[in-house]
């Protein structure tokens, strides 16, 4: 029943699949080349079989049999290599073209798409899913033609010996093919189970190995040995099932092939006995019959890969159907100067409204802090200023002009935004500081930026200086160091408006103070908006906005708000008592 459901569902997806392939710029010339080579090979194979049959029958004339046999041996050796090469190149190109297509699309998808999808899943769209799709084309779709043609050539040859012989062969085929098909499905099912069990094992082991510190300090080694052991036993049981199914498949296939051989021999025997078939022709016929079975069974085996590719096709098609962001429509934003004003802004994640008719003013040329309990919408506020999400209603203006009039790319480029994640890429310190900067600053300028965030000493201590590698995602740096580089990168851009989201949270007390003094100096007279939750950082603001549940609870000069607002008072409980 389940199988039926799978087949029924396929038809709808085929159309989407082919429309996606249409966009992918497939290597059509190579595909045609591959098909042509396969066709030639099918014909050469037939001749090769006939000559080897003659040899087997004892027909050893040098020019009549032996030399042509050698010729075809060598020809098929060369041809099969060429066709293999074309096949591989075709797959490689298809992989590349599909990947390019998906990546170009993904890059331009809105932030919400990334938030709604697990990054690991998105990664496998580009890596493994693409490979399954190319495999599907190369191993399932194209072989429809090559297998059909090869079968046709063989059957044609057999029918040249005797038409009835060919029909008996055709009649004997289905049983074997059906068995290959069923076994293929069964094995696919078990393999799927094994993969799932192994994935669970990996997840369990990874979760614990990455947190061994906790296990040690809790002293729960024994318990975890048991938890892991259970997963291992589950994997073992799945492997055991596979052993039985794979094992049983061997005799079943053997019986099927024996039955078929019996049919082939019984049919051929009559013709051979009556003299309608010569010994050479009998041997050739027998060889053809075996070949035909092998070709078709192999093809049926590939069908099982269809199911695993089906999910991949669906997922990739889904990405391709997502609406992209239009980055270049609108006016060019040069310099975002002037105050930032939210006017009746509505915004929601899904059905939960976060902001409803939010009005808010952020003064120009000053430093504004946004504070509030977690979940009050602080980060979302910064994201909305940088236009990372579209508004559901209302408008945001900078210097009195609606921000949505500008093109997204010029607007976002004009604003500096240090996000919470302090992103670093594998590469050198210099690569990271210069990433996306669009100009190459002098070492002196880099020194100044690094000194401003208090990381110059660290860079100097590196034997390679700015060319020291930072590791994958900056793994060789501490959280505080990554944050310092992120701020330095933003300062190098010299933006007229800078947004900072918890950008100094991982720094120590002295480090924070130094970085904020630098921000104040470098951004003098420009607009800075930042989110923070600790008292020390908030003290750096001129202006303060308190958010609670998506509403402005208080806004004004920092000292005024600090003095009146209960949230701030709570936060400062002892902190300001001395004043």
């Amino acid at each position: 029943m389940e199988t039926n459901a799978i087949f029924r569902k396929n038809y709808g997806n085929f159309r989407r699949f082919f429309s996606m392939l249409g966009k992918a710029n497939l290597p059509y010339l190579w595909i045609v080349g591959y098909l042509a080579a396969s066709a030639v090979i099918a014909n050469v194979g037939v001749s090769s079989t006939e000559y080897s049959a003659a040899l087997f029958a004892g027909n050893v004339g040098l020019t009549a049999v032996v030399l042509p046999y050698l010729f075809y041996q060598i020809l098929s050796l060369i041809l099969s290599s060429v066709s293999g090469l074309i096949n591989n190149l075709c797959t490689a190109r298809m992989d590349r073209n599909l990947r390019r297509m998906v990546w170009r699309k993904t890059v331009n998808l809105p932030l919400r798409f990334y938030e709604n999808n697990n990054p690991k899943e998105l990664l496998s769209r580009i890596t493994t899913d693409i490979s399954s799709i190319s495999n599907l084309v190369m191993k399932v779709f194209l072989p429809i033609f090559t297998t059909a043609y090869a079968s046709f050539v063989i059957l044609q040859k057999v029918s040249s010996y005797d038409g009835a012989l060919m029909w008996s062969l055709v009649a004997a085929l289905p049983v074997n093919i059906l068995i290959s098909f069923i076994l293929g499905r069964l094995q696919f099912g078990v393999q799927d189970l094994i993969n799932r069990r192994n994935a669970q094992l990996t997840a369990t082991v990874a979760e614990r190995t990455n947190n061994l510190m906790l296990i040690k300090s809790m002293g729960t080694e024994e318990k975890e040995a048991g938890v892991g052991g259970e997963r291992m036993k589950a994997s073992y049981r799945a492997a055991g099932m596979n052993i039985w199914i794979t094992g049983m498949a061997v005799p079943i296939r053997a019986i099927a092939s024996v039955l078929q051989t019996i049919v082939i021999i019984l049919v051929g025997r009559g013709y051979y006995a009556s003299g309608a078939l010569s010994l050479t022709e009998w041997i050739a016929y027998y060889g053809f019959a075996i070949q035909l079975t092998n070709i078709l069974s192999a093809y049926c085996g590939y069908w099982t890969s269809f199911k695993s590719a089906q999910g991949a096709v669906e997922r990739v098609s889904e990405i391709m159907a997502e609406p992209s962001e239009n980055l270049n429509a609108g006016n060019i934003m040069d310099s975002p100067t002037g105050g930032i004003r939210f006017e009746k802004v509505d915004f929601s994640f899904g059905s939960e409204p976060l902001f409803q008719g939010l009005d808010l003013d952020i003064p120009a040329g000053r430093i504004t802090a946004v504070v509030g309990p977690s979940g009050s919408g602080k980060t979302t506020l910064l994201n909305l200023i940088d236009r990372l999400y579209p508004l559901n209603g209302g408008s945001i203006q900078i210097g009195g002009k609606d921000t949505s009039d500008y093109s997204l790319s010029s607007f976002r480029r004009a604003l500096g935004y240090v996000t919470q994640e302090s992103v670093m890429y594998a590469g050198t310190i210099r690569d990271n500081l210069l990433h996306g900067l669009g100009r190459v600053p002098s070492d002196q300028e880099l020194d100044e930026a690094c000194a401003a965030v208090g990381i110059l000493d660290y860079v100097r201590r590196q034997p390679l200086g700015y060319d020291a590698p930072v590791g994958e995602s900056g793994a060789s740096l501490s959280g505080g160091q990554r944050q310092r580089f992120s701020v330095a990168r933003a300062l190098l851009k010299k933006p007229d408006c800078l947004l900072l989201d918890e950008a100094t949270a991982a720094m120590d007390i002295g480090g924070k103070a130094g970085v904020w003094a630098s921000i104040r100096q470098v951004m003098a007279g420009k607009t800075v908006v930042y989110v923070a939750h600790d008292a020390q950082t908030i003290r750096n603001a001129d202006y303060l906005i308190v958010l609670r549940d998506g509403q402005v609870e208080a806004a004004g000069e920092r000292e005024d708000v600090m003095a009146r607002n209960p949230y701030c008072q709570e936060m400062m409980e002892n902190g300001e008592e001395g004043r």
């Binding site: 004892g58 002293g219 094992g247 061997v250 053997a254 936060m571």
Partner: protein, 591 residues
């Protein structure tokens, strides 16, 4: 996984020892009978294969008698049945070895000293349990299969020689060619797999890094640059695929060339011999059939050899890991019974991850029992390292940590760690229900009241009761379904339920907002009244609530004492207070 592969091959070149092979297989019972049964089935099957060959030859000669057909059919089925049993035994053997070795390795990993875990990287340990072990487990079976294949090879060679010695002698000349081709193919295989693997690793690394940085990219409008770099990563992978395409074809070509040369030699010499009457008319048929069997066994032998060689790295990795250091939680002296009313004393402790750059240097200090001690200092001054030394997670390079009269490195680790509870800045949860996580430490049954009580102390009961399934709600992998603050509260409840005698808190409030941080901190202190709490914090309000404060500066003790004392003695302490807006408070207190 990538790292591990490289590591393995490097180690293997440096010091490949048979000892780790042998010692690996002496660590757990091996189901020998399964492997032996598999071997016996394999040997028997060789005879069946040869008998089938005789029938195949007859069929190819057109001797299509009923007896031939029946004999061929029965033997073919018998062959398949025997092969099935041989596989069943062998594969079950492999799986049993895998399971046993895996559990052994897992247990070992759980008991590795923390330093060893950090040195080896968790990702390589994970791949050790998941991948390397399966390769290592296949080795024994592989050796048995090789024996069976060699037997088959020799047996078929004899049969072939018996049929026609002269032609067989020609074939023997091809054996060096076979070995040469195989060596070449093996080498190509290794190189192309390595290149492919590396390129896949590089591409995966690129995309995993860049996809998770999507917000940064969007915020700076760097989509164009991003697309370009991504295309470059894709093209790198493409180049590796092209290399693979050529190499694989070369590989297939060499293999086919070898068999073709065999067929051609048989055709040339055989036809000549038939003409001279040295071989029957249909001799090429007979001979080719035997040659096919010989080739088949030869390929099996060589494949096993290649695979065996391929498992060396994995086996070496697992072997070295199992031979390596291990913590024994139950070795050492018993800790004295009862509630710990004993000071923690560090006596001239030095410790460094890298011997050239010590984190702690000749540090002596006392953490008084029964009160709350705060430790402060800059990033990298060794605060968190200090906490790990207290529980024996790390051992000092020199000096000693004392728990009253007991030296931390001499007592039973299981008892020692049981007395400590830890709350970090980021506390992992394990997949499972909220309840499972809170009751994580307990092995037996825990009452609902106890769980709810701990949750209340950690201010977690509010949000838990709002979850769709309350305490039975799933927290997701690593606690991903909860927010940072919620995870923190569950972790605090988990620690409190384990009822520790010493509580260590490392930036435990950093992911909570201030009000909850202080509320929870006070509740915890109330609950732990009379017991020892050690807090690492950046927020001076938390620090000032402590009874005793220790100021660390680059791994050395700058000052220790109460708030009032430190105002006089520690410039670092004063500057911290000033920076967080406590300046006047400090001066007033000082007056």
């Amino acid at each position: 996984m990538k790292r591990n592969g490289k590591d393995g091959s490097q180690q293997q070149k440096q010091k490949f020892s048979f000892r780790s092979y042998i010692s690996f297989y002496t660590r757990f019972p091996i189901p020998w009978w399964l492997f032996i049964a598999s071997l016996v089935f394999g040997l028997v099957n060789t005879e069946v294969v040869l008998a089938i060959s005789k029938y195949v030859i007859q069929i190819n000669k057109g001797e299509l008698y009923n007896g031939v057909i029946i004999g061929y059919s029965l033997l073919t089925v018998l062959n398949a049945v025997i092969a099935m049993f041989s596989n069943l035994c062998g594969e079950y053997g492999i799986q049993k070895v895998t399971l046993r070795a895996r559990m052994l390795l897992w247990n070992k990993i759980l008991h590795l000293p923390m330093r060893e875990v950090e040195r080896r990287q968790p990702s390589s340990l994970i791949s050790g349990v998941v991948n390397d072990i399966t390769q290592a487990s296949a080795v024994i079976h592989m050796i048995f299969s090789t024996v069976a294949s060699i037997y088959g090879f020799i047996r078929c060679c004899v049969e072939m020689a018996w049929f026609n010695a002269k032609l067989s002698a020609y074939m023997l000349l091809l054996v060096p060619l076979a070995v040469g081709v195989f060596a070449l193919v093996g080498q190509l295989q290794y190189r192309m797999m390595l290149r492919r693997y590396e390129s896949l690793g590089a591409m995966t690394e690129f995309f995993s890094e860049h996809i998770s940085a999507a917000k940064h990219v969007k915020a700076q409008a760097m989509e164009g640059l991003e697309a370009e770099e991504g295309l470059r990563a894709i093209d790198e992978r493409y180049k590796a695929d092209i290399y693979y395409a050529f190499m694989e074809v070369l590989q297939v070509f060499s293999n086919t060339l070898y068999t073709s040369i065999g067929s051609i030699a048989i055709a040339l010499f055989g036809s000549d011999m038939i003409r001279k009457g040295q071989m029957p008319d249909t001799g090429i048929n007979d001979f080719t059939t035997y040659k096919g069997r010989v080739d088949q066994y030869q390929a099996e032998v060589l494949t096993h050899y290649q695979t065996l060689k391929g498992t060396q790295g994995a086996l070496q990795y697992v072997g070295v890991l199992l031979d390596g250091p291990e913590e024994d939680p139950d070795a050492g002296y018993d800790l004295p019974e009862g509630w710990a009313k004993e000071d923690i004393v560090l006596e001239r402790v030095s410790f460094g991850y890298d011997p050239r750059q010590p984190v702690l240097h000749d540090l002596s200090l006392t953490i008084p029992a029964g009160i709350t001690t705060a430790i402060i200092g800059n990033n990298g001054c060794g605060k968190s390292t200090l906490l790990k030394l207290l529980q024996g997670i790390y051992l000092p390079d020199s000096g000693r940590v004392w728990l009253g009269e007991s030296a931390v490195d001499k007592v039973k680790l299981s008892q020692l760690r049981r007395r400590f509870g830890c709350i970090f800045q980021h506390n992992p949860l394990f997949s499972g229900s909220v309840r499972d996580n809170i009751a994580y430490w307990e092995t037996g049954e825990v009452s609902d009241e106890a769980v709810a009580g701990a949750a209340r102390l950690a201010d977690a009961d509010g949000f838990i009761s709002q979850l769709p399934e309350g305490y039975d709600s799933d927290v997701g992998m690593g606690g991903a379904l909860l927010s940072g603050g919620q995870r923190q509260r569950v972790a605090i409840a988990r620690t409190l339920l384990s009822d520790p005698e010493y509580l260590l808190m490392d930036e435990a409030g950093a992911s909570l907002d201030h009000k909850s941080d202080m509320t929870i901190f006070r509740a915890v202190r109330e609950h732990m009244k009379g017991r020892t709490i050690v807090v690492v914090a950046h927020d001076m309000r938390t620090v000032m609530e402590a009874d005793h404060i220790i100021v660390l500066n680059s791994g050395s003790l700058e000052a220790a004492g109460t708030h009032e004392e430190l105002l006089k003695t520690s410039p670092t302490y004063r500057s911290y207070l000033e920076l967080q807006g406590f300046a006047l408070a400090g001066e007033e207190a000082g007056q």
